[in-house]
């Protein structure tokens, strides 16, 4: 007999289905199969951080005043009492000291933003190194790059809103970068800021951009990004039974959904922990913005750091001729470089397909070692990025380690051009060596523990080919497939197929359970 709850649920379901015809969709969606792998959760971290940004940001917007109108501070933070400042800075102080729970929300918002960008970068690396961007998923890759860029813009806008000394310095740099644009620089800078710096409008303009325009676009792109993952079905790593034409994993409902919801709460929890315990951007210590002041060791948020680094490393080239001034010392590191980086990044799937001539569908992920050139390109780019990131903190490094800032800068300038090619060569070499190791394993198989004495008196150890659940991971070329097939019969009746417990990467899927399955 159906309980009351069941009847109520059935009734609601019928009511909705009569109007929307939703049962078919619900049935297919709840049964949707998702392959499982820890690295697939990186993108989820970005998604959950974004949701946290929306939640905390909405709360903050109820108190923040995006205005550069001058007010005298009259809040409870006594050291700044009576000091003239903008309403934006004063309301940020109010959020930090006079709104209950305001500071924890502000800090969670900032931490969530840092985590959002970090998760995007790591997720991007995962997608790159496993080749998940290949046909049919190029569009999702391009959208992901778009989200990365929008995240930078959104983060910088948010960082600038409190109008403290640090953020004001950042805005002035942004204005000066716009100013350096050839031909239209002054127009662009005046257009954005409303006039000669500080222009008097920038806080008022950044506010709707930060809380409505950019997050709206990000939300729209994320929806399509995830919709496509759903529609095109997730990629999967090679394993027995997995082919280019199927998905092997667990169904969305209930275990997968519960795990994802739980993970969502875990990400929220970590952000709450950071927001409560780890102080971030204590704007009351910096003081209100004053164009004639700056604090030593000024640092942007980490995701802007690579651009700060490129700006610091750039030689002071400037062209003054024909009645005009052109500033490669500003344009190259702040406009050209990010332009080139993000364009190449967005185009990478198309470039790779063009250069390799690979036009096929790919649903099985690559192991990085099997694509040495791509993997080497990836580590090369990461090296370039990391050198820039380090350069962004060259003053901090100089003061911590008592080194000369000039020497650090010269060293990093050299490293920026020398290290990436070296890392490229090294990575490619390592990938090829790993491939050789795989080849060895396929050719010679696994030690069986059985020692045989040959008529000549020589002792040899018998080997057995790799059991299928491991061999499938290595079948990346037709030759290897043939080899595995050729050796397969030798496994028959062998205890190895059951008992072998290779370490590390060759751990069978399902851990202890794989074992159980084989015994039964």
């Amino acid at each position: 007999m159906a309980s009351f709850g069941e009847k109520a649920a059935a009734g609601t379901g019928t009511w909705v289905d009569d109007r929307l015809g939703s049962a078919n969709f619900v049935r297919r969606s709840l049964n949707k199969v998702f392959p499982d792998h820890w690295s697939f959760m990186l993108g989820e971290v970005a998604l959950y951080s974004f949701i946290m940004l929306l939640l905390t940001g909405t709360y903050l917007s109820l108190f923040f005043e995006g205005s550069s109108k001058e007010v005298l501070y009259d809040g409870s933070y006594t050291p700044l009492k009576g000091i003239p400042m903008t309403a934006a800075y004063a309301s940020t102080l109010d959020i930090s000291f006079d709104v209950r729970g305001g500071l924890v929300m502000r800090q969670m918002h900032h931490w969530a933003a840092l985590l959002f960008m970090a998760a995007i970068v790591v997720h991007l690396a995962r997608v790159f190194f496993t080749g998940a961007f290949r046909k049919p998923r190029e569009l999702n890759w391009v959208m992901g790059v778009g989200l990365f860029v929008l995240g930078l813009v959104e983060g910088f806008a948010g960082y600038s809103l409190p109008d403290d000394l640090l953020s004001g310095t950042g805005l002035r740099i942004a204005y000066s970068i716009a100013l350096s644009t050839p031909v239209v620089g002054t127009w662009a800078a005046f257009l954005v800021f409303g006039g000669e710096y500080p222009g008097g409008h920038i806080i008022e303009r950044l506010y709707p951009i930060h809380i409505l325009l950019v997050p709206g676009i990000i939300l729209a792109i994320i929806s399509v990004h995830m919709g496509l993952v759903w529609y095109q079905k997730h990629t999967q790593f090679a394993s027995p039974g997995r082919t280019e034409h199927n998905v092997v994993g667990s169904r969305f409902f209930p275990a997968m959904m519960t795990k994802m919801a739980g993970f969502n709460m875990m990400v929220f929890g970590v952000i709450a922990l950071l927001g409560g315990l780890a102080q971030i951007n204590p704007i009351w210590l910096y003081g209100p913005y004053d164009p004639s002041q700056v604090s030593a060791g000024s640092q942007p948020d980490w995701y802007i750091g690579f651009l700060d680094g490129s700006t610091r490393l750039m030689p002071n080239w400037e062209v003054r001729a024909l009645g005009h001034t052109l500033s490669p010392n500003v344009i190259v590191p702040t406009q050209l470089l990010p332009g080139v980086i993000f364009t190449l990044l967005a185009l990478y799937p198309f470039l790779e397909a063009k250069l390799t001539g690979d036009k096929g569908y790919h649903n099985i992920l690559d192991r990085p070692r099997d694509k040495p050139v791509r993997t080497a390109i990836g580590t090369m780019c990461i090296t370039f990025y990391v050198v820039l990131l380090i350069a962004g903190g060259n003053d901090i490094i100089a003061s911590i380690f008592h080194l000369s800032i000039n020497e650090i800068t010269y060293t990093l300038r050299t490293a920026l051009f020398v290290l990436p090619p070296l890392v490229y060569l090294l990575t490619k070499r390592i990938c090829l060596s790993l491939q050789h190791a795989d080849d060895d394993l396929l050719h010679h198989g696994i030690e069986s523990g059985t020692i045989r004495r040959l008529p000549s008196g020589e002792f040899v150890e018998e080997t057995l080919p790799l059991p299928p659940q491991y061999a499938v991971l290595l079948e990346t070329t037709p030759e290897r497939k043939e080899l595995v097939a050729h050796n397969a019969h030798r496994l028959e009746g062998s205890p190895l197929a059951v008992e072998a417990k290779p370490k590390g990467f060759f751990r069978p899927r399902g851990g202890k359970d794989g074992q159980k399955e084989l015994e039964s």
Partner: protein, 349 residues
Amino acid sequence: MSDSIRDRLKATGEDVDPAAPVSHGEHPVGDPTESTHHSYHAELDEQSAKRAELAVASLFMLAVVGTVGFIATFVFWPNEFGKHLYEFYTPLLGGFMALALLGLGAGAILWAKTLMKDEETVQERHLLSSADEDKQGAAAIIKEGAADAGLGRYPILRRSFLLANGALGVLAVPFLFGLGRFQFKEAAMAKTGWHKGSRLLDELGRPVKLGDLEVGGVKSVFPDVAGGRHMADSAVLLIRMRPDVLHVRESRKDWVVDGHIAYSVICTHLGCPVKLYEQQTHHLFCPCHQSTFDAANGAKVLFGPAARSLPQLAIQVDDEGYFVAQGDFNEPVGPSYWERKPHYKDEVK
């Protein structure tokens, strides 16, 4: 495809298309899809299941404790700056919130991992590209519709239609002009708050007198105009050094007074205030991108991405012994821009 796989596919609610390319034959050893199906957690014995249930429930209860703690802290803990125990207010809020969230999250994950079935299910992928007849059909409809619309047949219609759309795009341009005060753009860029006879006021608005600065001392000074203290382009650093170490070029001989020299602090690179002065070396250092200027030699660039010297303000001393500006800067201060002239003469404006 074996029956059991087909059954499982049916169970997933996905349409099983017998024509869809399924290549189980890629794996030479038996039918590998068979071996991937296993469910283990569901077969916990009663005692283990009970234990798992209790563990999950305790995590959920921890989450409840977190929420209660959060509310109690929010309401009762001293939350005003300066009050005793105030410094624990935010950490406690964050900690309890984290407990509520982590408890719920960890509980849910443990629940799914221990008490729910961990099955492996196989689902076919659908071919993403459409059938040829659909492609051709779509192309035909578009072609037919376009022909019907007649853009190809009526050239005047086509051109006027394109023109009207282009015109609508141009309509947005005046709005862009409304965004900035462009009228006096270059004049604004070239001008600062300094004028002939303006006294050099310190941060508190007091005029600076000859003798206020010791040798090796520096002072931030601002023009004697309304709002001069906060003008973004007018901050100046007045530096005093021994007259014999100060090298001034011939055309600027009259711009300094007895070892006192005044430079714009707005960095010629990206506009940060260059105010870190090293007494021994006479170096001015920008904290943003480490451009270093030699204050004893016309603030020329010694290191870093800045390309030009800091502009120098011509100063003198008035009858009462106060420093005054001889006029505005002879060149625009701050970062470079397209309309900036390659050279500016050393004459006081």
